[in-house]
Symmetry: D3
Subunit: 223 residues, 6 copies
């Protein structure tokens, strides 16, 4: 692993241990990155799930006839998952297919993948929750993909939840939603966000004591 | 009860005890039945709910004035529920009305009904959850139906969650969604699905051991 | 506080202790108020949450450039919350912004506010759930409002979840949804609803004993 | 015909000859009737079409099996059309069925009907345009209704384009859309609207001469 | 060309000269083919356009980075058009891309193609209207496809406007919409539809003479 | 007027006389500006309408009570229109209000405005068409804005049809849709587009002669 790769892993550890999506989103805003939060329709399949990782992107398309080898790219895409990465999948918002499930979750985890974010459906949801493998999806459908969609590419730029995602960008999700951190600003974002967490603690305490928002904002300048 | 009816009940028992919707959907696909999974917008009102039963269909329509006897067909429809059946209700996707609730759940259970699937809203949801009566709906609204909709027919073909449902077809739902099993292929579907569950267990174990999806698929031929 | 204000608080206490939204909705229907239930897309962020209070309305609008003082009206709106009121917020159904969160919840509670209903998103949801502060929203997004929306008015008539809400109307929400009780009919609604709760208990018992809906409805005249 | 009926016909003649929907909508607003304009999705099938008439309402519901006598109520509804009335039809926004077409247009016109407004689709559109019979619809589909929907009632209150319509209310439509004039305020609305048309002519002339909106509004008080 | 091919061309000529989509849809219904009319969102780009032809299907998928050779399959798909065929294209309902335009229309016509039906957008619409080349689309966008979508397959089963289309099925469109005639029932459909056109003429005449729908339907049995 | 202003006007004249939106969109793509075409739901109210001009932006918000001075900002916004500018208006996609109409069109034209693009409805559409004043809108509604929306700002950045528009950017619309040309790249865009128009003419001629797309693309490299 390169020095940059190591540093990314350390920064990802800080995100996992100390940050939440709202504070990261605020820091992205301040740096002029205003379109980094995914649409609200992508939700964790279990309330407590959190995910952080380097984006391992996958792109599928709806089809209308089972191909001879329906899974060939899907298998290649998941077998290419590397440690510390997070599967980020676009289905072009299909409501017909579902290609995520327990087996792909098991295979992804076995390769060191940290979770999955899919702009589409998952199945086997209770089994995945029991595994403790974080999956964020737009819903659930019990169907298989083989006669409904095929993976056409992976490790390519995609759009997921309305946000452009490039392979290697950092994905961070919790109960409030998902943000995409462009890899080139990761160190700055983590540093600023860590600092902002502390200011917010002071603000919260002052509000709990009954001070007006006006006073608190005048003092700390954050909401 | 006829011999066929007895066999249906036994097959339903097997579904309840040993199957899940994803494996049943896969078997329906293999038999060329590709449109049997309901739309993802119909969800169990509690995560652990499962439902299996013969479809007892109900069709309602939005109206704009309270009729003299608003409940007459609604009452008849529920009083006609038979043991082992599951209420499957179309509202033509109304977002104005809500006719399911605690009282209809209580009445349905008293007749031996095993649950309710409604392409529309329910109310009294916490009370129904407490009863442990499985209800799958598109959401919740606290309103009554009397000035908003009437039941126009029951035990008629309907469309629920985008799937055609005939009275007597078998409905099966769990956290992943809902599938409709045409009654004439029920024995085959249950047999094949029971067998596929075993293959999937082998696949899962091999993936957990770290094998690539490629190897596993080449060996067992299932995903 | 005026005599009317005192009476309102007492009626709100009765709602909180003894009523649920479905029975209140039925009574509103009977009095000819058929459009008082909010759209089903506004949900409690935690299943057990209930809210009752006098509407403290807030209206925001999407903008596309961070203003010099983005929070000025937002701060004024929340600092104006009075004891026993419930924040009811329209965002004109924005899917870009999110201005509710932990700090505003903390500030609202410190002023005596009983909860928040927002036709839009919230963030900091797990922290708010931990506070036990009832929030009903259309979903979650981790973004801040400052470059996305501003509060343009408060204590003005708004539309929230498809229902007209005037400042001072009583908002009541539970797992089944939300109803708006026009302040001028509050005493009648509470009286009738309290009475209807008792009839429903009798109906439910009779149904549990296996009686047909037809018999029960003929005897008690309620569903 | 009663005296009131005669007067209605005369007022309808004035609307047809001298008014347009925008000015009628403004007058409805001033009288506190703010929800009388139908949703923008209902459009004239030909740009120049205008319709005025007393509402002859029809309500249909989607079904999923061809009934023995699919057209019985549809036939009765159209055969009941009286001279000067306008068919106003709700399909509960069905996108499956289409029951309006050339034959019903021909039959309606033969009974003296002045046009049709349907919150649903029409077919035979070019033939209807050639007839010069005004139809406003949400679009076009070449299908028949017989296996897709049935008329369940007519001359009943309905909702069309989001507006409550009672039998006998006056419907008025042109290229800008459709308004529903409650019958009890028809004389006042026509009188005020006739007067407002004149003010607007003055305003328009002054604007054409290059005066600022500010000056024109200060002088005439209308926009 | 095979004998069957010749016959298809002759039947297509009859459709073009003497039929309209509504009568064809009715005949499909009677034969139990109830899902052959495309969704109403696909419209002719000019009111008078009609199209008939054997389906030449094309399937595209949204992408998020310009590939090295973006047009390779798109070019191959259009160069493969044969005389008498109609391009039928699925974009999985993309609202981002647009790959139809004047040049593809020119190329298609040069190969003998009779028109294009696209479940997506077109551009160069006025030039295409001037060419008199029939195009049915869901709307218009001035963008090119090269960085937005690629053709992934052609002459494969697709879904267009909600209807399954197999290569070689016959597409027929006019102002009322589009129907798909499965190739194996084409002769029967054309024969029955030709006959039904005559009955409808009689019905229409009788209605014009002022007879009630009830009388006309009792006599001819068609609406 | 500044030298830059003069140059802008000359470039706008070239756009008006010699370009169309599709070729401008292609050039924007090549320069890496991929999000400059507005959503397809904004359409010219008459097929032949074209508009070019410097964006004069207006932002309105839905309200739910008629303010004391509902038109104050609306009047100011239109009275501030300058010669050669085009009104570009965001309503946050309101389907309740309508503030554009004949009087504002007349006033805008009197100030030298070249047209209006509104992400919302217009009224008085036939009168505006007769004036020959280009308006692009999402539809039509006969209502007035005074109790439904107010202008909150103008000459501010907005989003219209999904595209960011800054005051002074150049708007260009025709039957295919609308593109936003950032002012800083206007000279390059016009130069490149003028050149591309010529290549396309050659391509079209070759296709008309029956050459395959493959040959034509290999020769000219454009589609």
């Amino acid at each position: 692993m390169t020095a940059a790769g190591v540093q990314t892993d350390e920064l990802i550890d800080i995100i996992r241990a100390r940050l939440y999506t709202a504070v990261v989103s605020d820091v992205l805003d301040r740096n002029g990155y205003l379109d980094q939060a995914m649409d609200a329709r992508i939700r964790p399949i279990d309330p407590g799930m959190r995910v952080v990782g380097r984006a391992h992107t996958v792109l599928s398309v709806d089809i209308y006839e089972r191909p001879e080898n329906p899974y060939v790219n899907e298998i290649a895409a998941i077998d290419a998952v590397t440690s510390g990465s997070c599967v980020v999948a676009s289905t072009n918002q299909s409501t017909r297919t579902c290609y995520w499930g327990e087996l792909l979750s098991t295979a992804t985890r076995a390769r060191g993948g940290t979770g999955t974010v899919i702009d589409g459906y998952t199945r086997d949801a209770l089994a995945i929750i029991e595994m403790g493998f974080p999956v964020f999806s737009t819903g659930f459908k019990p169907v298989d993909s083989s006669a409904r969609s095929v993976v056409v590419d992976f490790n390519c730029p995609i759009e997921c939840g309305g946000v452009k995602v490039r392979p290697g960008d950092v994905i961070f999700g919790d109960f409030d939603g998902l943000v995409v951190i462009p890899i080139e600003i990761l160190p700055d974002v983590v540093a600023e966000a860590t600092h902002k967490v502390e200011s917010e603690n002071l603000t919260r305490d002052m509000l709990r004591d009954g001070h007006l928002l006006r006073e608190v904002y005048d003092k700390y300048g954050v909401l």
